[in-house]
Symmetry: D2
Subunit: 310 residues, 4 copies
């Protein structure tokens, strides 16, 4: 688990890279309908997660380095406490608890979103925001801009909108010890799952059963979703790069390609392996496999010699 301090440190590092008189606006993800009144399992936005570790949908993080706030400003808009909604859909943190959990200067509820955006943007020179990523976020944002522009003192609307991602994604490339630990966990879970699928595999089984083995291994370890749609392709299906139907029955003599990785605490593993369904490579299969393996090992050696990251 990432500590509260680490999240604060990330926010501060981001803010330090912004131009003076800037506000960063980072919306969380929302729930996505799967069918009628059912939704896909919620997946938090990666950037929002990286900066907050907050697991609720529809929140907004607001950061500013404007001198009017003193050293810095940290605010969040979160779903309001609501007895009926919480009995139906689960507990919410609420604004009051968010204040202390995230060391905020201010906390707002969803119905105050427009006002909070307006107040935080007003008088800034720069806004950092992922314009173009989500239409309804864009609309809220440009409406706030327009409201400020139409106000008597036009100059109160910021003049520059910067993409938040170049700085933030550069930051995300350099992993903390805690992140490395979680990436390792994701890798280990995924490796176990691949081995289990290999052991399970045999001619006659179905691709989706190999997927089931893998996902079960992931989920038992707390990785409830794969990091990406699991690919289990036998025979010809192994030649479709993102084959995710996983519906065919495995034949004797088939190679099986599995591309699967666990998502653990928001961190992804990504492992692809190819193996014979019946446990033995044919001569031709072995030869091709060996060529690819040799190339891979050479490449890894080449990288290791030049890279001291971990």
């Amino acid at each position: 688990m990432i500590s509260a301090q680490e999240f604060i440190a990330r926010q501060d590092r981001l803010l330090a890279q912004c131009q003076p008189n800037s506000v960063c606006i980072v919306p969380a993800a929302g729930l996505v309908t799967r069918s009628r009144d059912t939704e896909y399992t919620f997946r938090q936005d990666s950037d929002f997660w990286y900066l907050t570790g907050f697991e609720e949908p529809d929140a907004w993080l607001i950061l500013s380095n404007h001198p009017r706030y003193g050293e810095s400003y940290r605010a969040m808009v979160v779903q309001e406490k609501d007895k009926s909604a919480e009995i139906w859909h689960g507990k919410r943190l609420g604004a009051e608890a968010a204040l202390s959990r995230f060391s905020l200067d201010e906390a707002f509820e969803t119905h105050e979103l427009e006002e909070a955006l307006l107040a935080s943007i007003q008088g800034q020179d720069n806004v950092y925001f992922t314009l173009g990523y989500n239409q309804s976020h864009d609309r809220l944002f440009t409406e706030a801009l327009n409201t400020l522009r139409e106000a008597p003192k036009e100059s109160l609307a910021p003049c520059a909108v910067h993409d938040l991602r170049p700085q933030l994604h550069e930051m995300r490339l350099f992993k903390s010890a805690c992140e490395v630990a979680m990436m390792k966990a994701a890798g280990e879970i995924s490796a176990r799952a691949h081995k289990r699928a290999m052991q399970f595999a045999s001619p006659g089984c179905f691709e989706y059963q190999l997927e089931a083995e893998i996902h079960h291994e992931f989920a038992m370890a707390g990785a409830r979703s794969p990091a990406y749609s699991t690919i289990v392709g036998s025979g010809d299906n192994a030649c479709i790069l993102h084959y995710t139907q996983n519906s065919a029955q495995v034949n004797d003599g088939d190679l099986i390609l599995i591309d699967a990785g666990a998502e653990y605490q928001g961190y992804a593993a990504d492992i692809t392996r190819t193996f014979p369904a019946n446990g033995k490579f044919s001569h031709a299969q072995r030869e091709i496999y060996s060529v690819v393996l040799k190339a891979l090992k050479k490449r890894i050696g080449y990288v290791s010699a030049r890279c001291h990251a971990f």
Copy 2:
């Protein structure tokens, strides 16, 4: 598996309930982004699936009873064959193969969508369409309407837009033998999964592990997704109706509520059971459980006496 004939029969039954000179327009679901360049597992739209059994995204079914087509008209817009896209994302049926698989009068590719909509709507009195369900479908549809209205002969635009769902959803209430078989399969898979979770459960396990057991049982039987987000709530969590976090550790003495059902070939089971984590009800737990069970049995008896459906 539903036969091709059954899908055709459903389409004909739907069309027979439409007013004369009508066209039905039924769009498939599209892919939904989960994070950056990864997507949730595709879920076909239930109505589109009921009428076609076609598993691809972004298709459109067009049916008409207008006399100009003779007895009836059946068309589909499908993703175009595209070598590169198919190597990346999997094979597509294509327009030509769709023609015979679905006994269509015409088959179009996605880039012909606007034209196909326009041609099929023109001169009709009624359109059956799920207005308001999907903004981009609505836009395509109203643009087609406006194009016809602005054309020299204004009268060629249909004057009534009917909701497709009342008729279609009424039809879907009456299950064929084949559907009943799949519902039974969904129910049996789900019952097995619940039993497996009960056997696995013990103080100290995590809610998400019970979920993992259930989903594995589903997936091994070909039900790759649950019909709705699985609820595993222990202790207090059992009182949140749609608790889907499933993150807590189970305590000795807890009751565990599991609400989970498999989605098999598009058909859903829906089972909720409550049981003691340590295998034994406490006295108070047993009393409440018995009251609820008694009420349930009485209700089932009441229903059975009046209902001869299955």
Copy 3:
């Protein structure tokens, strides 16, 4: 001026042509920005004007023949009374005065629009609405539909959306005595304006000056806007069908084509005439003019013999 009774009679005639259990929803036009904070002269929506004679923007007329209302239902949503807005932009009728002026069963203010739409649509079988005409009206309307569909009793959302215009525009073809009087007035104003432009025209004048003469004649008679963009084309410009630049200087020997009509109380005249800038047709001009005039007269004779409308 159309009487209040005539408007009511029109509404009743429209409602009588709707299917049972129907509601008609007719939005007024809104203000349109010309540049920054200035707007074009407000033009009411023709259909809304025909049914109400109400000159304010952003109103909605709601009519229903549902038996729950007794004989019929008549409501309007209007801009709220607002001291500051009225000092800035002019007086508003307000909901209370609208009640009696338009013999309404209910009157609402703009901030009640969503509720009023919802309440009036709920439980109806049919809605008559000009879907596809205005994006923000469409959004309000489909949001109301979706709210009703998601409500516990799904059946409360109407299943058919009819285009209001076929019936309404058929009604508008048959003019009352009062309408004929206003059309005559529009025609007479326009004829005077054409004559004045002919008298003013001479080589060296500018096309826009002829437009100025025409618009002045219109406006002095209370027709503050032309019914359509006035066309004054001299020389080659006369061959551009909708030439509205009107920027050229008139040459000796030019023919001048003027296509201009006054809009009087919402009723349009439409007159086109061609004449020589210097007062005398050349031989060739006269010949062509005579051929066209002869054709016109023959056609008018043909029409008069078969038509007894006025």
Copy 4:
């Protein structure tokens, strides 16, 4: 008339104030529907007009100081030549003629807009654009951004979007000799129009007739539209700040307030005067008028002493 050189100089001055590696994107205005198939008189966007003097709708100006273009880059997207459209709606300049008239490096036609935007934005660090001003422009722009971001080399999308207006509107504050001349012309036309309305006014005339006198004076001088909706308020109406109904009959003893200014070549006059309808102030009217006049004169003296602009 502003010379072609002056427009080029303005573009260069704007570009010189942009950060390095920048592109400016300035869309023209579009046509606006008044009723069904008729449109309001076209009004060019002020910023686009200031930079180009181009009178056609739906054009885009693209400027860049990116070193890849050498010294600077100047491009325009214009409506394509189209025989049928030009016979109906008037001549279009077309891409070829635009090249030389505006000294462009490249000229594109409307159907190339997406490509031209994409090509010009790609690889830039900054875009100057009036985000939030027009929804369909915003959509085109963010779609171009997203296309670049999703392209293999993500870094090719610019990271900052600046509001074009602060720089441009500061530039527009300092008027050239040619602009001053046009402002003087607008002022003189407007002054003549006010005098004419005063002479025409008498008890019994209608407010809209005074408006007609004013607009005629404007239009005869080539100012086809007022710079803003003309206000003619008599009696109580004079107390509504933006009274534009202008429908009342003038009473004996009324004061009449007229607020009207011509728009000449895109430059606005803005004059307000109050006078007695019957030619003579009452005692009370005169006293108030004198107080206001005295305050005005004092203020003008105060400004003149400190300001040497003209």
